[in-house]
Symmetry: C2
Subunit: 223 residues, 2 copies
Amino acid sequence: MNGEAPHNNAESTGNLTRTPLSEQVRRIMLDNLVRGRWQAGQRIVERRLATELGVSQAPVREALRDLQAMRLVESSPHRGTRVGDLSPRRLCQVYPVRAALERLAAELSLPRLAEDPSRLEEHTEGMRRAAAAEDVDAQVRHGVAFHREILRAAGNAVLLPSWESLAVELWTHLSLTRVRTGLHENARDHEPIIEAFRRRDPDVGRLLQLHILGYAPQPIGAS
Amino acid sequence: MNGEAPHNNAESTGNLTRTPLSEQVRRIMLDNLVRGRWQAGQRIVERRLATELGVSQAPVREALRDLQAMRLVESSPHRGTRVGDLSPRRLCQVYPVRAALERLAAELSLPRLAEDPSRLEEHTEGMRRAAAAEDVDAQVRHGVAFHREILRAAGNAVLLPSWESLAVELWTHLSLTRVRTGLHENARDHEPIIEAFRRRDPDVGRLLQLHILGYAPQPIGAS
DNA sequence: GCTTGAGCGATGATCGATCGTCGGTTAACG
DNA sequence: CGTTAACCGACGATCGATCATCGCTCAAGC
């Protein structure tokens, strides 16, 4: 497939590290989900999508597997794949898990971040700028980066991948664009967390946990 | 491949639900890891494994993806896959994450399990029997089932998959067979947790968290 | 008219083959 | 003899094709 045209429909023209096709496909699919081009429950036919993207079935399949691990699509053998539940109801299930993981991360990373919270500050600054420019995408990117930095600082090679598998970036985007919480409030909300790190507050974990649960439509959604 | 012979090399002869090849491959690979047939860092060549198992490259690749999501193998593009770190050091990173998730699960499932902890009791009973019979496999199975039951009772569709991706069953097996903790102690260790559920102890989450961290060689392993 | 099962199209699962890259090896050069 | 660059085998990534299964349709039977 992809006959003879230079298949650089991505923004990266001539970058040295060619990304695998499956990775590119994954990004496109994520983008489709974020932009709402795909509705919940909609059928995703591997071959059709492969044809549309000009690739074979294999990379599409691999990308689909990734999204499946993130619970963004649901597959059952011989019955195909369909867009998963992206409703606020599902978000209420994602956030408690995310909050629990980040609480652990905060506790583990406390010494390191108390020593040097500069990275966190950079991201809040980025959020502020993005909010001022009304750039939702950038705001999400910085907001997620803030939290990802905490995960990274925890220094646990298992914790970060588990968190990544929650597709926080996507859910944050959906939350901002669909539920439409107050936008630029976010930057300010993160200040107390940095402060807690600075003063080595042993409750920083719980603080962060509550901070995240505050994002969910209902703070606690169980059973 | 698999020329003409009925490809039922699995134990399930004539079961109605044929399992996909990739699933069978995944189980075999997990077994290889548990039994120690594969050493850490060892190279896993997709095609060689495919030939050995009498299947094509595709199902092996899919199974490999699953194990990769569980951090049991490590892959990098064009450089192949190798067996991941299965050392106690890594286990010390898995258990805090697991403990955090199960703490959340316990808190969410408290009302339900306080109402009816019979399932939990069944599993501790199973653990006792398995310990008496010195059946390590069965003991692991019941021990993990105990915890999985808590996850399931939490009723969070995101929490359970996240927990499953930690490969708790495999790590428990490794912990028991390699580090060789006291065996039949496990059944008794779980009694206080059931009791905590029964009396609706709001600290049951923390109790469970500490219970799990007690399994790790060092209770807290950070940085 | 309602049920039921054969037929059919759509689709996921798997396969065998090819393409391009990576890492090590070897041979030319200084 | 040490360095470097072309070469080569191995392997992952991707492809196009085939196979088996599922859900649906429609007609036969009651």
